[in-house]
Structure formats: C-alpha cells, structure tokens
Amino acid sequence: MVHIKITPYLRETFNITKETFEVELKGQVTVHDFLKQIGIKKPEYVLVVINGKALPKTTPIKDGDCIEVLPVFEGG
C-alpha cells in the first residue's frame, strides 16, 4: 500500500477529490508513472516528497512509501 497526500489547490487543478488516500502498488512503477495513474496528468507541475525527502520522478515507488505531492514553485 502507498500512502498519498496532495496539496489542496493541486487537487482542484487535477480534479482529485481526497486530500489523503491509499493505493495498492501493482508491479514496478516510477514516481512519474505513478502520478499519472492517480490522475496527476502533468507531473511537471508537482514536487514529490517520499518519506520526507524530495526525490526525482525517476525514483521507483516501494510498498509502504508515504508520498506527499507539493506544487512546483519558484521565485518570490
């Protein structure tokens, strides 16, 4: 099982209803492909934090991972 938490306004953008949910992991999958599976059609707009650390989207997902999806954000 993979645990997912998605930032509120990203849920609005990608039409995802729940802030937190769990998904059963089926086979080997990278962060990039996993994001598409859960409805984040444009992964370039999000930063993925796995078990507390921001990691590249080529990272393979493991069973039990806690994934936090934050917006990509620059400047200020």
């Binding site: 306004y9 370039e44 400047g75 200020g76």
Partner: protein, 626 residues
C-alpha cells in the same frame, strides 16, 4: 502618435528646480531600449561619471516604466528605479509592481530623471501635465503610512499614488528601498538611500489620461483569456492561493531553504511559516497589482495584545518570510509579519535586512560581537526578542544598527576578527533566499548579476528538469532538453543566458515574471501578440531577446567603468563548502567547474573571456556606441 508609450521623459533638477522634457524620445529610441533597464543603462552610461560618490548630488535617480506598463492586462504593471548604487558601487536597479508605474504613464510620462539635491526636504507632485516640487519638511522623519496620509490630505485626493522613502532612506541606510502604496518595494541596491541623499521624500502621481494602443480589442481579448486561463496553470494559480511563500515547504523538503545564514538547507519550523499556514491563519485578503488577476500579494492582520500588524502595510512575501524566518531561525509568522510591516514603514529592503541580522547573529554566536557591542541584545539564532529591535536600530542608525546599516560586507570589514566569512554577498549585495547549492544556475545568476546577488536574473533551473508544459514554454528560445539542476556544463550556461535575455527584456518592457512564461502562464507567442497590439510594431521574439541582451550588456559596461568586473563575479566561500544540514546536507558547488562556467558565459556573451569586459564588436552589434 506614440502607441503603448507616451514619448515623454521628464528631467527634474532638484538643485535649481528646473523641469523639462527630454527630446528625441521617438520610436527608434523606444524600440531600442523599451524602458526599465534599457532607460537606466542608457542614461547612466551617457550621463553619470562612474567615479562619483553614489550619495552625492551628481548621481541621477531614474524612474523608468516600459512599453507594456499600463496595458490593461495581468502582469503589465512593472517599473524600475536605477542609479549608481551605494551598496554595490556599480549599476543599481530595483523593480516594483503595484500601481505607481501605470499611474505615471497615465499622467503622461514614460520616465523621470531626478538630478541634483534639494536644499531642504521636498516631494514631487505630478498631476497629469502639471509638475510641482513641494516642501516636505513636515514629512521628513515620518514613516510611509504617515507621509502618504498627509500627502493625500494636503492635495485633497485619495487616489494619488505615492512612491516614497521612510526614515531608513533619509538616514542613508545602504540598502534602503523605495516603497509605493505602502507595500510594493523597489527593494534592492539601496535606491532609497539615493533618493534620501537628494532630500527627496516622495513622488506623488495622479494620472487621468488614457493610454493609446494600436489594437485595444486584441489587448482586451488577451486580458479576458488570461483571467480564466491562469487558474488552469498550477504555477500562477498557486501564487493566487498561497502567495509567493507557497513554495517555502517545497524548498524545505528539497533542502534548499536558506536556514541560519545559509549554514543549512532545511528548517524545523518551516511548517509554521509557509504560505499555506498564512492562508489558514493571519491572511486577511489577497491583493493584486494594476489590472492583475493573479493577486499574489498578501494582506495580513495581527491583533495580539503584544503585537499588532497593520493590514495597510500588506503582508510578507516569500523572500521576507525566509529572510526573517528560517535564515534567522525564527518560526513565528506573526513576528515576521511585523518585521515586514516595519520594513515597509521605514523603507528597508527585507532581503538585505534579514541577511544583515543573520550575519550579526552568526558573528555573535562565534564571539566576534558581544553583548557589549549590541547594547545588551543576545543575537542568537531563533531569538524572537531581537529582530524587531534591530530593524528599528538599523533604520534609525542607533547603536550597532549604525554599523549594520552599512550592509554586511562593509560592516564585517569594520568589525574585523574574521567577521567577513559570515557576510554572504556578491558585489556587496546580500544573497536572496534561494540556495544555489541545490540549483547551480542560480549560482551563476548570483555571481554574474549586474546588481550583485539577485534571484530575478533568470527563471531558476529547477523548473526545467523534465519534459512537460513548463519546458515546452521555453522551447522557442532554443532550450529543447531538460537539464539537471546540478549540471554546470556549457549546456547550463547556455540555458541560463537565454533565460536571462528573456527576463531582462521583461524587465525593460514592464512585464511581471509571474504573468508570462516560464514562471507565469502567458506564452511567448501571446507576449509577442500583446507587444504588437500595444505598439503597432512588427516586433519579433528575436528582437525582444536582443533587446534583453542589450540591457544586460549596457549594465555590464557601466559596472566595467565603475571598476567592477571578473574579480567580483564570484560567490561567497560558503557556497563552495558543504551544506551543514537539511536534506541536501553535504552538497556544495564545485569551484573549478563553476569558474570555468563563468568564463564560458563571458565568451558566449561576446565579452573578453578573462576580463569579462564586453568586446567592441559586441557593443557594435548591439548598437551601444556611447
């Protein structure tokens, strides 16, 4: 008839009160320089002796809008202020949004050149074509909120837009800024001190004239499209939702949130100070600049018995939250908001002020300065009791505040005892709140910036690490592939340089980086369409990028004449040393490769590879012949 611009630049001599309009502000001039950085570079090169004291009457303070400033479209609100900088000793410039720039154009002017020094404090009042120099003796010493109220009252007009300085500008703090509408700052390089040195308290503007455009329907069509589309793009919709500090948690988890004077890259108190927390606690409302639907500006209100924050002074941006927050080890968003309010009242650049305080804290923790030096203040990281007090002391130049008002580099030299290692500056200007050890392109920006360390030279390289819409948006520049943020090869230099041309052009034209791609959501094609609809010129993307390059080369040339060059294009030592904490712990910028990248940039720019001086051929190509 000029379209998109007014064709008028005013020259105001405060020494003798003479006011006159510049000649030859024609289409050729406008299409070559566009405004902003273009005007500033032109007038500094033509008229300012590079050897002058920046705080002497012979310095010139230039207020410059751009050809797009005042279009009724989101993001078309920016203007720049420039002069020889008292902080860097070279090219000085700072940009702001808000309403003042469009108001100046509606009063009939593309820019102002302020010369000389008034005998006593004055302010400039512009109502359409009526321009007066008025007494400001009764305003001198007052904070911005007090002065704005008085100026509006005595001119019986609550819609006057005012760009002004507070006590920090009057007291010539090296990093004093200029603030318009109490909350939009021309923040960097000490332009407020130059204004103070001229005894100029404020420029109050009221404009009622309509700007003329080639194709107004086209412009309004793009404005309508943008007002819906910006919500579909998470980059711009995020700015609306959480303001600029919506990225703070992202930086924290990525290990690139400047913490305790850039010693670490993650802060244990980040959750308490980021944009989401602000939205859920002290946020009173979201505000925008002229014609802008993004509304990235925050207005906060705090009404505690021991701490009140006036919403009239706005709310803290990301840079402010990080500089008084993680950088100083402070996790109290209400206190940070008060620091922001004070800086807006006194007109202090929040980035440099936070950095100077963090510098003092590290000196204190290492025994270089003591309680004897600080008047009893314990300057330890995380000490909430000292930040507000230090801001007051800096603005009023009291106690150790008088030394800190010089900027951290000069303060370190005066303090001695090894303090210089803790002053993190480039060309004497303090680093902004972005950690280059996690994005090497930002390191290039800091080292090569004409104004000293600056995060707004180019879009940051972490945006272009994968395929998708963001990278697609800049493919018309010739940047076709993702590049790793830790890359520092020729590929990275080329990416940085092209992105720098684009943002330099945005700066000249008066376009906000948060509205247009890659950070915003208006495509390059739409920007070209807007330019054409505003001016009637058959302008191209190539022409825009060349103009951006021209702006950068002019400012480089001014720095060269001021004696600032290759020796100053380098990062503080700490950035070549390992991060001490956070999720990127151990990361550093490789020094040898970085130095090579700087030389590669010179060569790509058509500058001498060793000295970094623009070659005669490059100057000729860009038409810089003065």
């Amino acid at each position: 008839m000029p379209l998109g611009y007014t064709g008028k630049i005013l020259r105001i001599d405060l020494s003798d009160g003479n006011i006159k309009e510049e000649e030859n502000i024609d289409e050729v001039f406008m299409r070559k320089y566009f405004g902003g950085k273009g005007f500033i570079g032109y007038y500094l090169l033509k008229e300012v002796n590079p050897d002058i004291d920046p705080l002497s009457p012979v310095n010139k303070l230039i207020f410059a809008t751009g050809v797009m400033t005042g279009l009724p479209v989101s993001g078309m609100c920016r203007y720049a202020v420039g002069a020889k900088s008292p902080l860097t000793g070279g090219y000085g410039q700072a940009e702001a949004g808000g309403w003042w720039g469009p108001e100046l154009k509606m009063a009939g002017y593309d820019g102002l050149i302020i010369e000389g020094k008034a005998e006593k404090p004055v302010y400039i009042y512009i109502k359409d074509n009526e321009v007066k120099i008025k007494d400001a003796s009764h305003l001198w010493g007052r904070t911005t909120d007090q002065a704005q109220k008085l100026i509006r009252e005595e001119n019986k007009d609550n819609r006057i837009r005012i760009a002004q300085i507070g006590p920090a500008g009057e007291n010539l703090v090296s990093y004093a800024c200029i603030v318009n509408e109490l909350k939009h700052a021309n923040g960097r390089t000490g332009m407020g001190a130059v204004m103070g040195s001229k005894n100029l308290k404020a420029i109050a503007v009221r404009g009622t004239q309509k700007l003329q455009f080639k194709d107004k329907e086209k412009i309004l069509g793009i404005a309508r499209w943008f007002s819906g589309y910006f919500k579909e793009n998470p980059l711009t919709y995020g700015l609306y939702n959480w303001g600029t500090s919506g990225g703070l948690m992202n930086f924290n988890k990525s290990g690139i949130l400047p913490t305790r004077n850039f010693r670490e890259g993650s802060f244990e108190g980040a959750e308490k100070i980021w944009g989401k927390t602000m939205a859920e606690t002290i946020l009173k409302k979201r505000e925008g600049c002229y014609a802008c639907v993004i509304r990235c500006k925050r207005v906060v209100e705090v009404d505690r018995e021991d701490l009140k924050v006036d919403p009239e002074l706005g709310g803290p941006e990301y840079e402010t939250i990080a500089s008084f927050g993680s950088l100083c080890g402070i996790d109290d968003l209400e206190l940070i908001s008060k620091a922001n309010e004070l800086c807006n009242k006194y007109t202090l650049d929040t980035i440099s002020t936070g950095m100077v305080i963090a510098f003092a804290m590290e000196c204190y923790e290492n025994g270089i300065i003591t309680q004897q030096d600080t008047g009893g203040l314990k300057l330890t990281f995380g000490n909430k009791d000292v930040v507000l007090k230090l801001i007051e002391m800096i603005a009023k130049r009291q106690g150790i505040g008088d030394i800190l008002a010089m900027g951290s580099k000069r303060a370190a030299k005066k303090i001695g005892k090894g303090a210089e290692q803790y002053a993190l500056t480039v060309k004497n200007q303090e680093l902004p709140m972005h950690e280059p050890r996690g994005k090497y392109g930002v390191g290039l920006a800091y080292a090569l910036s004409d104004t000293g360390a600056d995060h707004m030279q180019a879009a940051h390289d972490t945006m272009f690490t994968e395929e998708g819409e963001v990278l697609d948006s800049i493919k018309p520049l010739g940047i076709l592939e993702p590049i790793d943020p830790f890359d520092i090869t020729q590929k990275k230099v080329r990416e940085f340089m092209y992105l720098q041309f684009l943002w330099s052009f945005y700066n000249m034209a008066g376009i906000c980086d948060f509205a247009a791609v890659p950070r915003g959501s208006m495509s390059l094609g739409k920007v070209v369409e807007l330019m054409r609809a505003a001016t009637g010129w058959n302008v191209s993307l190539w022409e825009m990028l060349k103009a951006g390059e021209r702006g950068l080369t002019m400012s480089r040339l001014f720095n060269t004449r001021c004696g600032i060059g290759a020796r100053e294009d380098r990062l503080p030592r700490r950035l070549h040393q390992a991060l001490e904490g956070g999720t990127l712990k151990g990361q550093k910028i490789p020094e040898k490769e970085f130095k090579q990248a700087i030389k590669t940039y010179y060569a790509m720019m058509g500058w001498d590879k060793e000295t970094g001086i623009p070659t005669q051929e490059k100057l000729a190509e860009l038409g810089i012949d003065f």
